[in-house]
């Protein structure tokens, strides 16, 4: 048997290895995405002061600290039975949309960007942000500038651009000054403008490329799973709040529930060869690593959110959403590479939402702290850039954390990512040689999810595995290794 190892997977947030095993005939026997990192947040969060959790848990991930910060704050709102005053809610929501914009932009141009914007034959020394900047100097410069503006909004409201500090149970630390609001209003429009440019770039530089179209429609990039995401009352995606909606691989609603109830519909499976866990829908149970209608595997993130929604919340995003649906002609869209496109659409929605929110007069309201009740249990859920994020805490009567449980976006996607990697590897090996560009393809399959392994490695695997089971594509047990 032969083995191919890609280590570390580059241009993603965190650590990961892809292991591909071939059989005697040279075909892919199995492929794994291994996450060899582990930090143990859920363990050392115990005993911490509840109000510190937004600042502690955001250190799970420096790419999406805003998501952890607010999922945590929302879990605390619930744990303290607090109503968040409108001014505070507006601050949080504005901050949050600026983050979604900035994070998506970062991925579209710098992390996934090299895959999208550069021809495939570009060597690995060029296949990175520097290569993108060299080929698209004007765009690159603007992206850096506008991203800095978006980060400025995050910083003005959150206090720090990375690892913000402003959220407290029941609200935020201080009212937003008129001056800060004016600054935000002055830069918000740039976000929409860049959003439009990115749409144009997508339609001129990326979508027309035959290789990209082939990828979008390829079999190895097609993975029928269920989808999860937050929606508002009009069934449009909402990143900051709403109900958790899950639709099946056929597109019908499986449930639509508040976070704390939705959490009960998810369970997790472990394997001893990786430190990331594998969630699945309890309604279906764990059916092994395979996609399909009766599997419990679901996906989250940009594409998932578009699949669970019936429309977008803002006009420009809606236009682009319709173009995507026209292109595929069916929904749910199961094309993994459409994650990039969905990311673009969401980026536009986030920009438009920033512009809307900054016009709200109450944004500068002075009342930013709701009254707190006795501490107890609470679930907070937001849509992180990469997908649904749950924080679930139990506080004791002193407001210290007794238990913390977190399910992060990349964890939800871990089974799907593993499957996409394997599909891609199998297809490529089937077609012949494995050279550098082809290896990059495998990574591309993986990067489409914009996986954040920093997020996925916050936890400790629970329980002691007694056996390792490996399933084939039909869900048949092909190997069992007991320890």
């Amino acid at each position: 048997m032969k083995k191919i190892l890609i280590d570390p997977i580059t241009r993603l947030e965190g650590h990961g290895k892809i292991l591909i095993y071939l059989d005697e005939a040279g075909k892919v026997k199995d492929a794994f995405l291994q996450v060899p990192e582990l930090r143990g947040f859920e363990v050392f969060c115990r005993g911490r002061r509840g109000e510190e959790m937004p600042q502690i848990t955001e250190r799970i991930c420096g790419v999406c600290p805003e998501a952890h910060h607010l999922a945590s704050a929302k879990a605390l709102d619930a744990a303290f039975h607090a109503a968040v005053p409108r001014a505070a809610r507006l601050q949080r929501e504005l901050f949050y949309n600026a983050y979604i914009f900035s994070d998506h932009l970062l991925h579209l141009v710098f992390l996934g960007g090299p895959d999208l914007l550069l021809p495939e034959d570009v060597g690995k020394a060029e296949r990175n942000v520097v290569g993108v900047l060299r080929r698209f100097p004007e765009l690159g410069r603007r992206v850096i500038e506008v991203r800095a503006s978006a980060q400025k909004i995050v910083e003005l409201i959150g206090g720090k651009a990375i690892h913000p500090v402003f959220a407290l149970p029941g609200g935020v630390a201080k009212p937003l000054s008129q001056e800060a609001k004016t600054t935000v209003a002055g830069i918000a429009e740039q976000l929409v403008e860049l959003g439009k440019t990115m749409v144009q770039v997508f339609h001129e530089e990326i979508l027309p490329r035959p290789e990209f179209q082939a990828l979008l429609l390829s079999e190895e990039g097609w993975l029928p799973t269920h989808y999860m995401g937050l929606v508002d009352e009009n069934l449009a995606p909402n990143f900051y709040e709403g109900q958790v909606r899950v639709v099946s691989a056929q597109g019908n609603e499986l449930f639509r529930l508040p976070g704390e109830q939705a959490l009960k519909r998810v369970a997790e499976h472990w394997e001893p060869w990786t430190y990331v866990k594998f969630p699945y829908l309890v309604d279906f149970g764990w059916q092994g690593f395979r996609a399909g209608l009766d599997s419990g595997i679901y996906r989250v993130g940009p594409l998932a959110r578009l699949n669970v929604a019936e429309k977008m919340a803002t006009p420009l995003a809606q236009e682009e959403y319709e173009r995507l649906l026209d292109f595929f002609g069916e929904k749910p869209v199961h094309a993994t590479f459409a994650y990039h496109w969905a990311r673009l659409i969401e980026m536009v929605q986030a920009a438009e939402t920033v512009v809307r929110l900054v016009q709200e007069p109450e944004l500068v309201g002075q009342e930013v702290r709701g009254k707190l009740g006795k501490p107890g249990e609470g679930v907070g859920v937001v849509e992180a850039a990469r997908g649904t994020l749950f924080h679930h805490y139990l506080l004791n009567e002193q407001g210290l954390v007794e238990q913390a449980n977190l399910i992060v976006a990349t964890t939800h996607n871990a089974p799907g990512i593993g499957l996409s990697v394997k599909q891609m590897a199998a297809a490529l090996v089937e077609r012949g040689e494995l050279d550098e560009a082809l290896l990059n393809r495998v990574e591309m399959a993986f990067r489409a999810y914009d996986p954040c392994l920093a997020c996925a490695t916050h936890f400790l695997p629970g329980g002691i595995p007694v056996a390792v089971e490996i399933y084939d594509g039909q869900g048949k047990l092909v190997r069992r290794i007991a320890n």
Partner: protein
């Protein structure tokens, strides 16, 4: 001539990697003057590319993240061998950071895995493919390799990062340099200090915070007095107390004990004297989660060895 740069992320959150982007438009200037030889978040160079480099061929390496797994340690050692100046970038590498709090929880780690747990490879016959062993302790970088300089913060503030690049590009880094101030954060904090007397320990969510007054005057623990300046007092300006991410001033030494001492000096229940003891104790009882408060970022560096005395002695405790 361009300066060679490697950036690597061990057991961290990636915020340090992203912090380079906070240089904003200046980033382009920096990128044009450095040659990135290894940086997994940005360029497609792999570990074997790094292994092939001759010793000391990298001018500067910035390692961020805590040392959490055997693999983290190997990579730190590999980078040390290939690099002239190796820096701890960010609180995790510098002090152990927030993941360093895990040192408090060894017993739990052990009890979750069980005494016989061994990570396994996905397929039999490839023992090397088991995920990297998690180390017994989460360590700051200096505990596994010698560290030449520090860019502190969680993540390092853009101003300090810029200061580092300037020094690096001019070849002006001295051994042991910490890219932050020696003075305390209080000295760059705009909040008004009055008597600094704590008559009640308050937690930020329990009180309506005054936007102008020093937190300590409001009874809220703020690590400003023992923390290095350099971030412009970002947190106090944003309405929240400093929690110490830039690490202690040289004068403070162990930041937790220095702050503990400062707090004890500030607490007052009326006239000092025996009659005030019960009231003083009540105030001090309001101070909860001492480890999380005093050592949010610095537990691994300063308090780990003490906390481990008990664990080692009694074996693993849940």
């Amino acid at each position: 001539m361009k300066v060679n740069l490697a950036v690597y992320w061990t057991g961290g959150c990636g915020g340090c990697d992203v912090s380079f982007l906070e240089l904003g438009p200046n980033l382009l200037g920096v990128l044009s003057r450095v040659e990135i030889v290894f940086w997994p978040a940005l360029v497609d160079t792999k570990r074997e590319d790094l292994e092939r480099l001759p010793p000391r061929s990298i001018d500067f390496a910035l390692v961020n993240g805590v040392i959490r797994t055997a693999e983290n340690r190997e990579m730190a050692e590999l980078l040390r061998e290939k690099t002239k100046f190796l820096g701890a970038y960010g609180a995790c590498a510098h002090l152990g950071g927030i993941p360093g709090l895990a040192n408090q929880a060894h017993g739990i780690l052990e009890s979750v895995f069980g005494p016989n747990f061994r990570p396994a490879p996905p397929i039999e016959g490839y023992p090397e493919d088991a995920p990297a062993q998690v180390l017994f302790e989460a360590l700051p970088l200096e505990d596994v390799v010698s560290v030449d300089f520090v860019v502190p913060g969680c993540p390092p503030p853009a101003g300090l990062v810029a200061r580092f690049f300037q020094a690096a590009l001019e070849g002006q880094i001295s051994l042991g340099q910490v890219f932050a101030e020696e003075k305390a954060l209080c000295e760059e904090c705009p909040r008004k200090r009055e008597e600094r007397r704590i008559t009640r320990v308050a937690r930020p969510h329990e009180v309506l915070l005054d936007g102008e007054k020093c937190f300590l005057d409001q009874g809220v623990v703020c690590m400003g007095p023992v923390t290095r300046a350099g971030c412009g007092a970002a947190c106090p300006k944003a309405g929240m107390p400093c929690t110490g991410c830039l690490g202690p001033t040289p004068k403070a030494g162990d930041p937790g004990l220095a702050m503990l001492s400062a707090l004890a000096s500030l607490v007052r229940a009326g006239e000092e004297g025996e009659a005030a003891f019960p009231e003083e104790d009540k105030i001090l009882d309001g101070f909860v989660d001492p480890i999380g408060t005093l050592y949010k970022y610095a537990f691994a560096k300063y308090a780990r060895s003490l906390a481990q005395l008990t664990k080692r002695r009694e074996g693993m405790r849940a």
